[in-house]
Amino acid sequence: MGGYLRPGAVQDALEALDRRGLTIVSGGTDFYPARVGQPLDDDILDISGLAELRGITETDSHHVIGAITTWTDVIRASLPPYFDGLKLAAREVGGLQIQNAGTVCGNICNASPAADGVPPLLALDARVELSSRNGVRSLPLTEFIIGNRKTARRPDELVTGLTIPKPANPAMSGFLKLGARRYLVISIVMVAGVLERAPDGTVAAARLAVGSCSEVARRMLGLERVLAGRPIGPELGSAAMEEHVELLAPIDDVRGTAEYRQEAALTLVRRLLRALGSAP
C-alpha cells in the first residue's frame, strides 16, 4: 500500500503534487473499478476534502464548476436552460450512488471515449482550469482531452474547475444517448447540443458534439456552420447529413459495430436538432 494524502486546502494539494508524482482520486468511481484485483500501491492524493472546490459558482461572464462537484450537485443546482443537456447527461451517469460520488471533473480527467460528461461540456464550450504551484492555465476542453484516456494535464497540475461562458443569446440544450439500456451500461452513441437563438428566430450559433464514436468526443463543426442562420424549427433535423458525421471514427466492439454507431450518431443528431428546433 502506497501513501495516502487528503489535504483540506488547495494550496496543500498543489504543494504535494509539486513534490512528487501522486495519483489523484476524487469520487473514485473510475479509479477503484479500474484497480479491481490489483494491489493498490499508488501514492494517493484524495481531493475530496477540498471543500472550496465544490459547487457551481457564477460570474458576470461565466459559470464555474468546481473540481469536486458531483453529478448530483449538477442535477440539483439551479442553472439556465443551456445546462439542461449536462443535467440530462448527469442523470444517466451510472445510478444514484455513482452520481452522488462521481465528479464532473473526474469524468473528463478520466478521458474515456464513452464519458457522458464530455459531449455536453464540449457543446457548452467549456474550458478546463489547471492549477499548479507555478500558476493557473486554462485550456479549451478540446485541447485538454487529447486521446483515449489521455489528457494534457502535467503531473504537477490539478484540475481545479471548468469554466463555461455565458452565451450571447438565449440558448437551449439537449442530450441523447443510445445504449443496450439507459443506465449502468456503456453507451453506444451519445449526442449533445446547444442552440443559441437570434432575436429574429434563427440560429445564432449551434454547438454539437458526439461521444462514443471516436477516441475523443467530437464537435460537429461542419454541421454547426450549416445550421447558423437557419430558422429555428423542427426541420433543423434535416440539415444533418451523412457527410457531417464522416469525421467520426467509431470502433467495432461487443456493444456495436462501427457501421451501426456511425448511422445511429446521425439519427441521434437529427433527433436532437428536431427536438431543440421544436422547443418553445
Binding site: 439500456r181 443506465y183 456503456i186 453506444i188 466492439d253 461487443v254 448511422e263 445511429a264
Partner: protein, 784 residues
Amino acid sequence: MRSEPVPPSRFGLGQSVRRVEDQRFLTGHGRFVDDFQFAGQVHAQVLRSPHAHAEIRGIDVTAATELSGVVAVLTGDELAADGIAVIPPGATAQNRDGSDMFVPPRPALAQGRVRHVGEPVAVVVAESIEIARDATELIEVDYETLPAVTDTGSAMDPGAPQLYEGAPRNQCLDWEKGDRAATEAAFAAAAHVSSLELVNSRVVVNPVEPRACIGLWDADGGSFTLYNSGQAAHNVARTLATAVFQLPMERLRVISPDVGGGFGTKNFIYPEQVLVLWAARRLGRPVRWTAQRTEGFLSDTQGRDHVMRAELALDGDGRFLALRIVTTANIGAYVSTFGAMIPTNPVAVVLGGTYDIPAVHYHVREVLTNTVPVDAYRGAGRPEAAYAIERLVDLAAAELGLDPVALRRRNFIRPKAMPYKTAMGSVLDCGEFARVLDRALGQADAAGFAARRAESERRGRLRGLGVASYFEATLGPPNERSAVRFEEDGTVTILVGTMSNGQGHETTYAQILHQRLGLPFEAIRFVQGDTGAIPSGFGHGGSRSMQIGGNALLLAADLIEEKAKRIAAHHFEAQEADIELASGACRVVGTDLAVDLMDLAKIARDPSRLPEGMAPGLDAAGDYAREATTFPNGAHIAEVEIEPETGVVHLRAYHVVDDFGTVLNPMITMGQVHGGVAQGIGQALMEHTVYEGETGQLLSGSFMDYCVPRADDMPTLEVAFEAVPTKTNALGVKGCGEAGCIGALPAVINAVVDALKPLGIRHIDMPATPERVWRAIRAATSGD
C-alpha cells in the same frame, strides 16, 4: 353442537400469504454460505485458464508457495496423486445406434490440457483471501495454445479444431426421438412447409448470490461437511461422496443454507466443491471459497445455446401434419451434471406444444466446444421447444396469409380430446388452451391493436403484437419425502428434500400444512437443504417442488390425522369413528370434548397414554411418487414499438394468462412469473453472450457488456391465472417456476417480427438488440 362454517384462513391455500422468509432476508438476517465462519479457516482462490484451448507444458508454483501466508498450492498432479476421481455427469444418453455417448473425463483441476477460459488449473489456499489472490498471480503456467472452437453451428465442420480424440467432429451425442418415417411421409404429402433456422442463444445465468462453498474435514469420524450454495444437497453429497471421494454417502454431509438464486446453475457438481473438501482433508482446516462475479461469468454453467432447423408441415386447410427439428446443442467443454440430458427428453417431452400434431421427429447432436459448460437453466429444454414451435406457427401464418391466432385455434389440442397422447408420447390429462388464449387476448385488448399500430405509424414507429401459447411439462426426479416433526417447544417442523432458493417454500409448505391440519401457521418451522437432517431428497428443478414435495406433505398429514384420531379416541374413551379433526383439534362429534393437535403431540410422547402397541410420537413422513407429468401452459402477449432508425425495441405492454392448475399462493406465484418473464425478456432482447471466434475469450464477461434487464427495462406485467386443476395429484397443482421464461422468448420475438413484417422480414434471432434489428431493417429496405 352447532357446526360453524370455517372462515377462510388468512394463511390457507389460495391466500397471498406474505413470505415469512422475507423478514429475514430484508433485514439482513439471512444466512448464506459466505456468512458462515469457522475457527482456523483458510481461503481458497482458483487460478483459471486464460486460454480457451491449450496444452499445459508445466506449472511452476515455487514463488506462490513461498509467499508468506500461503498454506498450499495444489495442481492437477496432486489431485491425481491423491486419487481424487473425475466429476461424473449425473445423467447421460445413448446415441441413435444404441451406443453410449462420449463423456470426457473432467478432473477438478486441469490435467495436461485446458479447454475453456476459466477452467480451474490450480488452487491456492492461504490465511487470507488477499494472500491467496496474490499467490495465484505468482504461479507460472507454461501454455502452448491451440486453436479453439466456440461457435455452435460450425463446431462440427470438418476443419474445426478438435477438443477430444474420442469425439470426432466434436460430436458427443447423436440422439433422436419420434417416428422418422411417419414424419417424412407427412412432409412429403404436405400442402405447405414452413422452415426456419433458429438460434436459441446462450445466456449467462448470474444468480445474485455467487456460488460459494466451504469444506470441513472431521479426521476422527473420517467424514466431510460441505456448506454449498446449492439447489440439490443430496445429489451433490451422493456424487461427491460415492463417485469423487469414494466414500459412503453418510460420510459427506451437505448443508445448503439460505441461497440467493440458482435458476438451475446451482444444482450441479462443480470443481470448487471438490477442491475445498480435498484441501480441507489435506490441511485439516476449514477451506472456504466464494466466486467473484467475473468467476461466475467464466465458470457457472451457462444456458441454452441451441441451433435448430425447425420445419412445420401443413395441409391445405392449415392443419398441422408434422413437425421436424434438427438441433445442434453446444454443451461446452465438458459434460456438466445434466448438460447432456437437457437437450434430449426435456425438449422432446413438450415438442409440438399445445397443438395436435400427428407426427413429430426430433434429432439432436450435441457438440463439445471451448466454452463454459452448459446445463439446465430456468425452463431447461422446454423454452427451446416452445420457442421453435411458436416461431414456426407465426411464420406459417405469415406465409399462408392467415391470422396467427386463428391458426393456433385451428390446431389446438381440444379439451374433449383429453387424455391426449402427443406424438412424443406425453399424456395430457387436461388443458384448455383456447380458453386461456382468449382471456389473454381480451386482457391485452388485441382488438384495439390495429388502432394502436396506426397511431405508432403516424409517429414513424413500427408496432407489433406477439402471441405465444406456451406448453411446459414439470420434470425433475419423481420422488420426494416430506416429514412433519412436533417439537417439545410447541412448534412444528416441516422437513423437505426440495430446495427453495428464492421461491418462498417456507411459506407455501406451511400453508399446505396449516390448511390440511389446522395447525397454527406461526408455529410452523421449515428445514431443507441438509443431508444430515433429512434422509433423502432430490432438490430443486423442473418446477416440481409443490407437485412432488407438496403432495408428499399431504401424505404425511394424512398419517398424522389418522394417528391423532386414534390417540384422541383412546384419550376420550370414544370410538375412533366419532372423532373429527377440525381447526387443529380432534373432537368427539356432538360433544364439546376436544383436544388440540399440539396437546395430542405431547400426549403422544407418553407411551402410557397411547393405545396398546402404538409407537410414541405424532411425527410422520409422507413418500410421494409422481403419478403423472403435469403440463402447465398459458398465453403470453407482448406488444412492442420499434424505432426504425436505431432499431431500439420498446416493450409497450406484456400480458400473461397462466394455467398452473390450483394456485397455492397467488402472490408468490405471480412473483415467479414476473421473474421468469424478466429473464425471458433479457434473453430475447438484451443478454448477449459473445465468445471471440479465434481466441475463445468471453467478450461479454461483465455486467458492463452483458446486459441483464433491470426494473426500468420492464413494462408492467399483467398476469392472471386461469386454473384448470389437474386431477393427477391431490393438490391439483401443475407447477409455475419456469413458465415465465418459456412463454416470453417466443412472445417477444413474435412481436418484434410482427412489427417488422411489413418490411418483409420473416425472422430475427435473439437477442434482438438495437443493432440486430437495425441491420435487419436495413437489409430489408436496401433490397440486399
